[in-house]
C-alpha cells in the first residue's frame, strides 16, 4: 500500500492482508540498499496470524519516494512519522543489519508503543570501509556485487534457497539496482557515521531478541555479541550455518525464532 509521510509517498507491503491498525503490529525494517521483498518469507506469515504487518521501503528504495535519508537518527525519526501517520499501536519491531541501527534509535527514543524488538545480524555499529562507500558512489554495480558477495553465505553463492526455483543473490541484485541512484551510498554513509549504539542499546526498555549468524562477514559474531552485552536481558540465538542474510538464508529457523518471541511478548488478539 502507499501512504504519505511528510509529503512523500511511502510504499509498504502488508503481508497480503489489509493493514488494520487496531491489531497488534509487526514492522519489518530492511537493510542497506534492500527493500520490502527481503522479508517476503516472514511478513505474510505474521499477516495471516492476525497481526497488522507493515514492511516499508525506506525513502529512495524501490517504491518509496526519495531522496534516501542521510542518517540513522533521521531514519528513526522517519519511522516514528510512519507510526504516527498510520496510528500503529503495540509494535513488534523486526530489523536486519542497517535496520537494526534504526531500531536501536527508535526503541531508545520512541518506546511508547513498542512491545518487542528483534535484532538480526547486527552490532552496535556498522563501520563501512572506504572502498565500499567509494564504489557505491561511483560504481553502484561493483558495490552491489561486493555487498552480495560478502553478505550471502555458501547457500547464496550456490543459488540455493528456500523458494523452489529462486536465486537469492540474483533477486537481491535486482532489488538493489531498483533504488534511486544514491540510495546505497547514502545508506552506507549513514551506517558508517552512526556512533550512538551503546547509549541507545542501554536505553531500551522493551523485550529484545538478537539473532546472529556464525558465518556473518558484515556483522561478525564479535560485533553482534557486543550488541548483546549492551542490551537489557536479550534472548540470543546464533545460527552457525548462516551468512549475514539470515532472513533469506535460513528463513524457517529465523521465522520460528521470531514467532516464539513475538507471540510471547506481543500476542495478537
Amino acid at each position: 500500500m502507499y501512504f504519505d509521510v511528510n509529503g512523500k509517498r511511502v510504499f509498504a507491503t502488508t503481508g497480503g492482508k489489509p493493514f488494520d491498525n487496531d491489531k497488534h503490529a509487526v514492522i519489518f525494517l530492511h537493510g542497506s540498499g534492500l527493500d520490502h521483498t527481503f522479508w517476503g518469507l516472514h511478513s505474510r506469515f505474521f499477516a495471516f496470524r492476525n497481526y497488522a504487518v507493515l514492511v516499508p521501503d525506506f525513502p529512495g528504495h524501490t517504491h518509496s519516494d526519495g531522496p534516501a535519508v542521510r542518517s540513522i537518527e533521521a531514519m528513526a525519526d522517519w519511522l516514528n512519522d510512519v507510526v504516527a501517520a498510520l496510528d500503529i499501536k503495540d509494535i513488534s519491531l523486526v530489523a536486519h543489519s542497517q535496520g537494526c541501527l534504526v531500531a536501536l534509535e527508535f526503541a531508545s527514543r520512541y518506546p511508547q508503543r513498542l512491545r518487542s524488538v528483534s535484532f538480526i545480524a547486527s552490532g552496535l555499529a556498522t563501520p563501512v570501509n572506504d572502498a565500499l562507500i567509494t564504489a557505491a558512489e561511483n560504481d553502484p554495480d561493483a558495490a552491489i556485487a561486493m555487498m552480495l558477495g560478502w553478505g550471502f553465505g555458501s547457500a547464496g553463492h550456490l543459488h540455493q534457497g528456500p523458494i523452489p526455483g529462486s536465486s537469492m543473490v540474483a533477486g537481491g541484485r535486482k532489488v538493489m539496482r531498483g533504488n534511486v541512484p544514491d540510495a546505497l551510498a547514502t545508506d552506507l554513509k549513514a551506517c558508517n557515521a552512526y556512533k550512538n549504539g551503546k547509549q541507545a542499546a542501554a536505553a531500551i526498555t522493551a523485550p529484545v531478541q538478537v539473532i546472529l549468524a556464525g558465518k556473518d562477514r558484515m556483522a561478525p559474531r564479535k560485533a553482534g555479541l557486543e550488541l548483546v552485552a549492551h542490551l537489557p536481558d536479550p534472548e540470543v540465538t546464533i545460527i552457525e550455518e548462516s551468512g549475514h542474510m539470515v532472513p533469506q538464508e535460513v528463513p524457517d529457523r529465523c521465522r520460528d525464532l521470531l514467532k516464539a518471541f513475538i507471540f510471547k511478548n506481543n500476542r495478537a488478539t
Binding site: 505474510r44 553465505g153 540455493q160 529462486s166 540474483a170 533477486g171 535486482k174
Partner: protein
Amino acid sequence: MSRFLNFDTLSLHAGQTVDPVFGARATPIYQTTSYVFPDTDTASSIFNLERGGHAYSRITNPTVGVLEQRIAALEGGSAAVCTASGMAATFCAITAILEQGDHIVASTQMYGGNISLMKNTLPRFGITATFVDPTDTDGFGKAVQDNTKLIYGELIGNPGLDILDLEAVAKIGAEHHVPFMVDATFNTPYLCRCFDYGANMTIHSVTKWLGGHGAAIGGVVVDAGNFDWGATDKYPTITEPYAPFSGINLWEEFGPSAFATRIRAEAMRDIGPSMSPMNAFLLLQGIETLSLRMDKHLANTKELLDYLTNHEQVSWVNHPSLPSHSSHELAKKYLPKGAGSIVSFGVKGGREAGKAFIENTELASHLANVGDAKTLVIHPATTTHSRIDAEALAAAGITEDMVRLSVGLEDVADIKADFDTGFRAARRFADT
C-alpha cells in the same frame, strides 16, 4: 565462499544442497508425488505462499528445483520455472501475462511450434500476434499496438539463423513498456546471457543443448527480475490481487520473481505441465558438461563450415559466423564464442537432391530435434515447419533445398566422411 562463482562451477553445483541424510553427491531423484508435512501450521503456510517448501510435485519438486535454480544461476535470472517441454514453457510464460484481447509482436524466424502457437492456437483464446522480420529492428516498434503486452523472438532465428539485435529490441520494449522475451534455446547461457542485453525473460527447450543427450524432454522459463510490472496498469495478473491465494499481490510480495511466481501459482497449479523428477535429473547431468560440449559443438561447426563452403555440390551455406551472413556483425557482438551449431545449406539439385543426401547419410540421424550430442539432419520444409503456410515459410527463409544440420560431437572426420556418402547419392540430381 565470498566471491561469485564462475559459469563452469555453477554448471556443476548451483542449486544443489548436498543430501543431508546420506550425503549423496549427485542430485537425488525425488520420485514422489507429495511430501509429508510436519504439522498443520507448516502445511497451511506452504499452501499460502508464506514459506518455501514442497506440497505436490505438479507445482514444485526438489529435483526439479535444483535444475530451476541451476539454470537461473547460469542465466543470471532471479527465478526459473521448469516445465514438461519448451513449448509448455512458452505457453505458460505467455499466458502468465496476456489475456483475451492482448497482442504479441514476434519474430518471423522462430521454431515452427512457436509460430503455430501464436498464429493458430493463441488466437482461439483472443491473443493475436504480428510477425516482424528479425532483421527489421525498427519493425518491432512499428508493430507495437496499444494492446501489445509482449515482444518475443529467438536470438538465433530458426532456421534462417538471423541474429536478433537484442539491445535494440529490448530498448524498443522498454520505450513501450512491453517485456521482451527471448527463446534462447539455440544459444544457451554459455554463448549469450540475454539478460545482459536487456531481455526480461528467456525460454529454453532444455531438451536441446542444455540437456544435450536427447534422452529427456523439458523446458524452462527464466525471469530476469528486471521488468517494472508496477509502472503501468497493463499487467494486472502480476500487479492486481490474485484471488486463489487470498488476494496476494505478486508484484508487491515477490518483486523480482513476481512473474515466475505467477507461472508457478497459476500455470503449474491449474494447467500442470510439470517436468518429471527423472527428466530433471537427466537434464542436470547434461548441464554439468555444458561448456565442454558447447566448445566441441563450435569446433566441429567451424570445421564443417569449411567443408561445406568448399564442397562443389553445395549451392549455399548459411551460418552467422560466415562473413557473408547478413547477421555476421551482430553474431560477433552477441555470440563472441561462436554463433551456435546449427547450419543450414542447400544441396545442388533441389528438393530431390536434399532428400537423397539425408536418406544416404548413416551417422547423421534424420530426426526432428536439434542440440543433441549426435549430428542431426532434417528437411524443414517438409517436417518441422510443414504446418506453417507458404507465406510464413518464405518469411522464415525456408527453401525447398534447405537441409538443417545440427552439428554433433562425433569426430569431425567421421561426419565429413558420412556427408561424402550423402553427397555422392545426391550427385545425380545435381547433374540433371
